[in-house]
Every structure is written in C-alpha cells, then in structure tokens.
C-alpha cells in the first residue's frame, strides 16, 4: 500500500525529515509505504481565512494526481484538514485528515477532548474545523501555550519549553475536565511522547494517527463517501497545476 502524505509548507530536506518522523513505522504493515511530499508554495501562519484559501489551493494541487500516481490514500500534514473536502470530491481513494481522525478517535477513547496548541496558531482554527464536522460539543477546551510555532524546525531546540505544554495540558484535564488530549498541530508532534509519559490520559498526535487510519480504512475496503463528497462535473486540474511555485515546475509549463 502507498500513502501520499502532503506537507503544507515547502520545507527543506531537514524539515521534511522532521515531518516524516511522524510516520508510525512500527504500527504499519511492513508493505505500507508513506511518501512525504511538500506543496509548491508557501503561506504564512496567522489570520486565518485568507491563508486558509492558499493552503487549500496548494494542498489540493499536491493531491490531485495521487490516484493516477498509484497511491492508495492521501493524508495532509495539518490538523486544519485543509483541502480535505476538495480532494475527497476529486478523488475516490481515501483522503484522510488528521483533524477528523483526531476528533473521531478521541470520541472513541474518551468523552471530552481538549486541544493544546501554540501562540500563533490560536484557537480559531479549531472552532472552524470542529464546526465543519459539527463536533464542537465533544471539545472541552483549547489551551494555548505561549511559545511561537515554527513550520520547519517544529519544536527542535524548544525542549526547554516542554514544561509549559505540560502545565497547560494538566489544566485542560483539571479545569476543563478533558479526558483525552489532542496535540493541536502536526508542527507540535514532538511533544506527544513527552506528554504521554507524564499524563494519565490518551494523547493523540493527529499526523501519525491519520497515517495509521488511512491504512486501516484501505484495509477495510472503505473510502470516504462519494455521496457526501460528489465528484465534480468538470475538472479544472490545469488551474491548480498553473499556480505559481517557489521554484519553476520542471514537468509542467503551467499551461
């Protein structure tokens, strides 16, 4: 089985390796291959709605050809599940988002989950995603750690701040009465093991869990619903492929 894992930032090789370290190798079948690829252009963190559209555009472009390339599933490396709806409409192979996987699996393991996130990601993104799935009632709260995020280095070099994450996570359990903790961004995945060793509740890291669930869903012969996500009447793939990249495309002139 081949899974395409799309990183929503054009990170360098070192950054890509940090993202790829989310692949839960010991949990996957030895025959499952995960290819970690990046989008072709960058967007900034920060005020959402405008940046959301840019995310959607480039992640969609990176996923368009997945079925033709022989992949069995597509996963985007972001809890915002950006481009999930468009790609589910365009593709028949499972398109799996870390956001919905984290929320659904949290609903399986507990009753109310809390999300822990970082200063410049903020809480609004989760309100958007939880509303999109109508699962806001399952969320006990969003706790923000006063540490800036970094889409390339992730939490590397910030190990001294891990105590701040633990502090907020503990508050989520004690004050928000959460019984499952979701790590709020795939850019924070390195905190998951640290929290797991110190907290008495399941700690969910959306990226790695979404890769595993993609394998599970393919194994079960399932995919997302084409009734919920109908195929387009007409394709506009060329519009996506023509989008300007940081680097010129070597395989497409942007026709």
């Amino acid at each position: 089985m081949r899974i395409k894992y799309i990183v929503p930032y054009p990170v360098d090789a070192a950054g890509l390796a940090l993202r790829a370290s989310q692949i839960p190798a010991t949990a996957l079948d030895p025959s499952t291959e995960v290819d970690v690829v990046t989008v072709r252009n960058v967007t900034l963190m920060g005020p959402r709605h405008y940046a959301d559209l840019i995310f959607d555009m480039y992640i969609t472009e990176a996923g368009l050809a997945a079925q033709d390339e022989g992949y069995d599933a597509v996963v985007m490396d972001t809890l915002s599940d950006s481009a999930l709806f468009a790609l589910r409409s365009r593709l028949s192979i499972p398109v799996i988002g870390p956001g919905i996987v984290a929320f659904a699996m949290a609903a399986l393991l507990g009753k109310r989950f809390a999300i822990i996130t970082m200063r410049d990601i903020g809480a609004e993104i989760y309100h958007k995603v939880l509303s999109q799935y109508d699962l806001g009632s399952k969320c006990a709260g969003v706790r923000i750690v006063d540490v800036p995020s970094n889409v390339t280095a992730l939490l590397t070099g910030k190990e001294h701040t891990f105590g701040l994450f633990l502090e907020q996570a503990q508050l989520a359990l004690d004050e928000d009465r959460a019984d499952v903790l979701i790590v709020g961004s795939t850019t924070m995945h390195q905190i998951a093991d640290y929290l797991r060793e110190r907290l008495p509740v399941p700690v969910i890291s959306g990226g790695s869990l979404a890769i595993k669930l993609a394998e599970t869903i393919v194994n079960l012969g399932l995919s997302h619903s084409k009734v919920a996500f109908p195929a387009p009447e007409r394709r506009y793939d060329d519009a996506f492929l023509a989008l300007v990249g940081l680097e010129p495309r070597d395989d497409h002139a942007g026709s």
Partner: protein, 253 residues
C-alpha cells in the same frame, strides 16, 4: 496481539461457529493478530428491550473481566448494544471496543451524516440510546430497519444474499433522510457489506463486527487505549457479584 471477542449467543456449546480465520479475513487483520471468541454463560442473543439489554450486559461483563488474566490484549464486544463496554473500560486497562461506537466514529471519518440500518425495528432503541450517550445523535440522519416491530420472524430469517432488495430499500430510505454513510446496525448483518453495490457508487457501508476488530488492532498498534480519566477504575472490585450469575441456556427462546 490477541483479541477477545464477545459474541452474544456464543456459548461453550457452539463456540466453533465463528472461527478466528473467518473473522480475521472479514476485518482484514494483520497475520500477527489472533481473534478468539470467548464464550458467554448465557445463550441470550436477540434482545428487544432494555431489560434484556441489561441481562446481556451482565454476562458480557462476566466474560470480559478475566480477559487480561487470560493473556488478551484487547476486548471487542460484537453486539451493537455495546453492552458492558463502559463497565469493562472502567474495570480494565486494555482497550475495550464496542462495535456500535467503533462504527459511528468510522462513519465520522468518512462522511457528514450516517444512517444506521438495522434488521429489525426492535433493535433501534439500542442505537438511540448509544448515539445519545456518545453525544453523536446529531451526526445520525436516521435509523432505518429492514423489518418493522411486528416482523421479528422475518428479520431473523433474513439472509443478505437471498434478499438483497430488502437492504436496498432501507438504504434508499436512509439516503432520502440525508445519510451519506451507512452503518449496518445489527451484528447479524455480518457479510452484508458485499451488497454495498445495492446503494449508489461510493456509498460507504460499514460492517460493525469487522470495523470493531480492525479498530481494536489499530488502537493497540498505536499504543493507545481508552481514557481512564473518562472511565475511572472502581474503588472496590465487586467482580464476585457479577461472577455469581448462574449459567443459563435455553432461556432466550
């Protein structure tokens, strides 16, 4: 890994009815995963009331509690009542997965609104209760039954391969209700997913038995289990009270 499967109606007398190999194939499990049916001390299989649900629940707990001592890594409850799931989650630390809840959360991952299709309307109440208790009723478009309450005999005699049109009718009613994913709502519908093409192309049809086993394997492989904050361990173990239940057979007819 070893998964204990609790199947209502499976007793020491008829334990061989469902084999591990068949179950593994249906749920596409890893070759490393072994499923073993654990017999119940009652042959109660068909419940149509909250009273029978409770009786089944007591015997499911009775069979599930010793699972860790017997070397099992997870417990799967092959009943869409999810009977004893919450009690066993409190009592045990190994993952306990109920087939209704596993199916609902899988439906969340695949679409926007699911419908549950049961064989008999008398089983709908269990889903109503579970959906409400999991806080997921609003994600469910409807619960459709193949047969109404006064047709239990027809429901029990239903065989998917022989009467696919009955399932197709229920699926089209569910679609009209706004569903985009179908959860088969009775464990006795095992195998009915082969009839998925009775609905429109690309409509996921979820087999609760298979999905529960596969999600148990998935949860275990990721080193996860249910939250003990959500299901705190009992302060005092009263297993002896549950174990004092008599063994009953021939009572459910």
């Amino acid at each position: 890994m070893r998964i204990a499967l609790l199947v209502p109606g499976t007793t020491t007398e008829n334990l061989q009815a469902v084999t591990s190999a068949e179950l593994s194939a249906q749920a596409s499990l890893s070759s490393q995963t072994v499923v073993e049916c654990v017999p119940l001390r009652t042959d109660l299989e068909f419940t149509g009331s909250f009273y029978e649900d409770l009786v089944l629940e007591m015997y499911l707990a009775d069979a599930g509690i010793p699972a860790p001592e017997h070397g099992f890594d997870a417990v799967v409850i092959d009943s869409v009542t999810d009977g004893a799931m919450q009690a066993l989650r409190a009592r045990l630390s190994i993952p306990v997965i109920g087939s209704a809840q596993a199916s609902y959360v899988t439906a969340l991952m695949l679409g926007q609104r699911f419908s549950v299709v049961t064989t008999w309307a008398g089983w709908n109440h269990a889903h109503e209760r579970s959906l409400a208790s999991y806080g997921l009723r609003h994600k469910c478009a409807s619960i459709q039954a193949l047969y109404p309450r006064d047709q239990l005999a027809q429901a029990r005699a239903w065989r998917p391969q022989e009467q696919p049109e009955v399932l197709a009718g229920a699926i089209s009613r569910a679609l009209a209700d706004g569903a985009d994913v179908i959860v088969l709502g009775s464990s006795t519908m095992r195998g009915a997913t082969v009839l998925a093409d009775t609905g429109p192309a690309g409509l996921p049809v979820i087999d609760p038995g298979a999905v529960a086993l596969k999600l148990a394997e998935t949860v275990l492989s990721m080193g996860l289990s249910h939250s003990k904050a959500a299901y705190p361990a009992p302060k005092e173990l009263l297993d002896y009270q549950i174990f004092s239940l008599p063994t009953i057979t021939g009572a459910s007819e």
